[in-house]
């Protein structure tokens, strides 16, 4: 008999059971099986260079917790980090549901085996439809970056289908640099992504330059974020959409979902495709692993055909008032038509979609309003108070912001990196250093608050900054 060790995850590692299976197959060992099918020269003769196994759950827990305990979390330090990943209140019900074994461990079962999963996903898209005022909402994508990339390619395909040779995507030069680089790479063979400059006084998109670029007649789409990556509202949203349409391009917008209780959806401001991330809707940050994307549009066939992801459709049944659900029109996806598909597609982020559904159902319209309200008030407070510190300039564009605000430390003679390093000593994660991404901003940090940020935490930041910048504590 071969050398085996009985392991709790492998019932047939029990030698007698294993022998029974071997006997049934009329072979002496598993080795005999695989050596009959894998050529000798391909067999790996050595032992994998891996650490010796940790025997018990207890020892494993000690070991893994020991490593993870070296992290310092945002529960221990006060965090002013955002830039695409946000710490919010997570209703306990969200965690309760997404840790249910049935949801946690289901996969791609369909209409009849996973009726509850299908309903939960359709409820998610339906609630997102209400939040976005959009009739069509995709299944979740990997993250906002993927949604933006796919939205860009959807626009190019829309133009192609209409017989137009338009492949340029116009984007604000203040856009999220990570998503920008992702999109350049993802769209390279079908599209050129061109930055539209911002107005130096306001940070907003330069409408004159936008029009000049649109006049070239090669733009497939115009994209904007609202609020922008740098935190300010793009107050020209409607004008951007109008201008975009005037020149035959598609308008794509990325809203911040946590703002949509108080802020108009881009769908109602002329956008044709709306995309973004649902991480703020009930997902822990998980060091960036809580992201999940969405894509939405109006109920127009030419748009729907361009979605590259699964779409879950509702279906009547032979029983009154009873609905079923299924993945529909799969020829659009690589699962349905391989290389002829719109784009590729794979295992995305279903559990986060279900979680966002639980979140939206818990929050309701009132909760979403209060979420936006608290965030804006906290941010305004922080902005006003930061401005009192000598040499520190909060909100250099003087705009109305949501959740995040630029803080310029150039006048303090210190770099953002120095300041952030010093803040660690006070148990504070300072705002994201954007001085490398946007050198023209000088020494700016992007400070983020949420409904969880308390006045005490903001005041502690202010005091720490006073000390660090050399001002006396008040």
């Amino acid at each position: 008999m071969e050398k085996t060790f009985v392991h709790p995850y492998m019932p047939n590692s029990v030698p007698e059971v294993k022998q029974e299976l071997l006997d049934e197959l009329g072979v002496g060992s598993v080795r005999e099986i695989y050596e009959s099918i894998i050529p000798q020269e391909l067999l790996y003769k050595e032992r994998l260079d891996l650490p010796e196994p940790i025997r018990s759950e207890y020892e494993l827990k000690k070991h893994v917790s020991g490593i993870l305990n070296r992290n310092v979390s945002t529960e221990e330090y006060t965090s002013f980090l955002g830039a695409g990943c946000y710490k919010h209140q997570i209703p306990a019900v969200c965690d309760e549901i997404n840790t249910r074994g049935e949801f946690l461990t289901a996969y791609c079962g369909d209409t009849y085996s996973d009726h509850g999963k299908m309903q939960a996903i359709f409820e998610y898209t339906s609630m997102m439809g209400e939040l976005l005022d959009a009739d069509v909402v995709s299944y979740t994508t990997y993250d906002a970056g993927q949604s933006v990339c796919s939205a860009f390619r959807m626009a190019v395909r829309l133009q192609e289908t209409a017989g137009k040779e338009r492949s340029v995507i116009l984007v604000p030069d203040t856009m999220n640099p990570d998503i920008y680089s992702q999109a350049v790479s993802y769209c390279r063979n079908v599209s050129e992504i061109v930055k539209v400059r911002h107005l130096p006084e306001t940070g907003l998109m330069d409408m004159e330059e936008l029009e000049a670029l649109l006049k070239n007649g090669n733009a497939a789409a115009v994209f904007y974020e609202n609020p922008s990556y740098l935190g300010f509202f793009e107050t020209q949203a409607e004008s951007i959409a109008d201008l975009t349409h005037q020149y035959g391009a598609v308008c794509i917008a990325q809203p911040q979902v946590s703002a949509l209780g108080i802020m108009e959806s881009p769908m109602n401001l002329g956008a044709d495709i709306v995309c973004g991330d649902i991480q703020p809707l009930g997902m822990h940050m998980q060091y960036g692993g809580g992201q999940a994307g969405f894509i939405a549009s109006h109920q127009k066939l030419e748009y729907m055909e361009q979605f590259p992801t699964y779409m879950y459709g509702i279906a009547k049944t032979d029983k009154a008032d009873t609905y079923g659900w299924g993945r529909a029109m799969n020829y659009r996806c690589s699962h349905g038509s391989r290389e002829k598909a719109n784009e590729y597609f794979g295992t995305e982020t279903g559990l986060w979609g279900i979680t966002a559904g639980v979140y939206l159902a818990s929050m309701g319209p009132r909760g979403m309003y209060e979420l936006g309200e608290t965030i804006m008030q906290n941010l305004k407070y922080l902005e006003m108070r930061l401005g009192e510190i000598e040499g520190v300039k909060a909100n250099p564009f003087g705009r109305s912001n949501f959740q995040e605000v630029l803080v310029d430390f150039s006048g303090t003679g210190k770099s953002v990196a120095d300041i952030n390093k010093a803040l660690l000593e006070y148990g504070i994660f300072g705002g994201k250093d954007v001085s490398r991404e946007f050198p023209w901003l000088g020494q700016c940090g992007l400070y983020c608050v949420s409904e969880l940020t308390s006045r005490g935490e903001m005041d502690a930041l202010l005091n720490a900054l006073r000390k660090i910048t050399g001002e006396r504590e008040v």
Partner: protein
């Protein structure tokens, strides 16, 4: 030996749960939101003054208004109407590696010290998670034999995408990108292979199986040329037949100047037995949520690993995690890299679970996974092939690796009952519906089981017995099978045209109501 319950009197929970948009009453609330303090409000003023006039929401979103218990109960009921791996013998979703996801891992990913980490925290405060990611990279190097690993991909398909981007970057640097515009794959490889290749503008050439069920080597010889950028292939394919000429495939493509990429979604059957490197591949990828035990989460989040040989190391997706002898750090300063695939750095929850899994099993345990997957599969096949009407096309008498593609063709011809009927009927027996095949269905009436190492002999016996019972029903009472399911959560059959006709299709409740 163990007691096998045959043909359980199963009935799935059927709550007939209303649609959430129709539940609750105006004014009800599921959760309260922290409010700004009075001192803050004194400084900030009212939100109506803060938000620009043109951007104020005019009508509140029509979200449901429900109290907390009612939200919880609704979703608890929906969860009960879902057959996860935790509650069933999930052998049917072949190619998906539905193994047990150890519960101890869930405790790790729910630690505050992980869940509440922001990706832009100072590196000195995330040494723990970086150490885990770094060590995962090292372990995957050992398992694949490759020289560099990136854990950036968000899933298996994105890892394949990263490999195609790497192909492009490699030939661009050599000035051959224009010329080498073809990628060869096989019809039984995962659709993400042709899907990612065409997304990046490659012309796709598809090889079909020969009479032995393996990709046609003559077709490959005819396909390669100075235009070949790469071969993207899996081994074994969904048929479970190990391609013993794989080295020749690789050599043929290398001789033509192309690269060879191994899709290792099927790693479970080859852990420690053979490595991508041993067959000469330049790259491979792993689906970490599959082979390394993360729960599949109703289709994600998963995670992928991109593994490449030395000559391609500089191109892998950034950032990678490195160690300078004192501290772990993210290395995004990789000028030749294909760049970022996603926001932030891979999917760390899956990477923690993969780490814990490897540390639990070690080298012998990993090899034992492969051995038991192979043993289980061949045992199950033997049991299933005793069933009238079910056959295993190609390579008769040859052992399979960790999965197999079977066919109900004979049963369909004799009874009119199709694989789709059986797929619904199996739910009545308390099993997840099964994976038939990707599209197109190369084999008629397909069925692709994968009894990974976590299923017992008793589990497999019960699973096979259920199909034996259904086959018997098909021969004696075919309408019974065709009318299934009866005991599933959904006690009715859907009107398929709602999912196939654009005019009847809606992805949201509001759109449905407008149809």
């Amino acid at each position: 030996m163990g007691y096998v319950k045959k043909n359980r009197d199963f009935h799935q929970a059927r709550w007939d749960e209303p649609f959430i948009m129709e539940m609750g009453n105006p004014g009800e609330r599921g959760v309260l939101v922290p409010q700004a303090s009075d001192e803050v409000k004194k400084v900030s003023g009212e939100v109506s003054e803060l938000i620009p006039a043109g951007l104020k929401r005019k009508k509140a979103p029509k979200l449901p208004e429900l109290s907390q218990m009612q939200v919880l109960r609704h979703y608890m009921r929906l969860s009960q109407e879902t057959i996860g791996t935790d509650i069933n013998i999930d052998i049917g979703l072949g190619t998906c590696t539905m193994k047990y996801s150890p519960k101890i891992h869930e405790q790790f990913v729910r630690m505050e010290k992980f869940q509440e980490l922001h990706p832009y925290q100072d590196e000195s405060t995330v040494q723990g998670i970086l150490e885990i990611m770094y060590k995962d990279e090292q372990y995957l190097k050992a398992i694949s034999g490759m020289d560099k690993v990136s854990l950036q991909p968000s899933g298996g398909s994105q890892a394949i995408f990263a490999n195609v981007q790497t192909i492009r970057a490699y030939f661009e640097e050599r000035g051959e990108a224009e010329k080498r515009d073809e990628i060869i794959t096989t019809i039984l490889s995962h659709p993400a292979n042709p899907g990612t290749a065409s997304t990046l503008g490659y012309k796709v050439i598809t090889l079909y199986p020969d009479e032995n069920g393996l990709p046609d080597i003559e077709a490959l010889k005819a396909a390669v040329s100075e235009r070949t950028a790469a071969l993207m292939i899996t081994n074994p394919e969904d048929t479970g037949i190990y391609n013993d000429r794989i080295r020749q495939f690789v050599d043929i493509v290398h001789e033509a100047g192309g690269l060879c990429v191994y899709d290792q979604a099927n790693l479970n059957g080859v852990f420690g037995l053979t490595r991508a490197k041993d067959a000469g591949f330049d790259m491979c990828h792993y689906n970490l949520h599959k082979s390394f035990s993360s729960p599949h989460g109703c289709q994600g989040p998963g995670a992928g690993a991109q593994c490449v040989s030395e000559k391609l190391a500089k191109y892998v997706a950034a950032p990678t995690v490195e160690y300078d002898g004192e501290k772990y750090y993210l290395d995004g300063d990789r000028p030749k890299s294909i760049g970022k695939l996603r926001m932030f750095y891979g999917v760390p929850s899956v990477l923690i679970r993969a780490y814990a899994y490897i540390r639990t099993l070690g080298a012998d345990g990993m090899k034992q996974i492969a051995e038991l997957s192979i043993l289980n599969n061949n045992y199950l096949i033997k049991k299933l092939l005793e069933i009238k009407g079910l056959s295993m096309p190609f390579a008769e008498g040859r052992f399979r690796m960790e999965q197999a593609r079977l066919s109900w063709q004979e049963l369909t011809e004799e009874t009119g009952v199709t694989t789709d009927d059986i797929c619904r009927r199996i739910v009545d027996y308390g099993f997840q519906d099964y994976f038939t095949s990707h599209h197109p269905r190369v084999l008629p009436e397909p069925f692709t089981p994968e009894p990974v190492e976590t299923y017992s002999k008793d589990d497999m016996d019960e699973y096979a017995a259920a199909f034996a019972a259904i086959a018997k029903e098909a021969y004696s009472e075919p309408e019974l099978v065709k009318g299934a399911p009866y005991k599933a959560a959904l006690g009715a059959r859907i009107e398929e045209e709602c999912l196939t006709e654009w005019g009847k299709f809606a992805t949201t409740w509001r759109a449905y109501k407008k149809l």
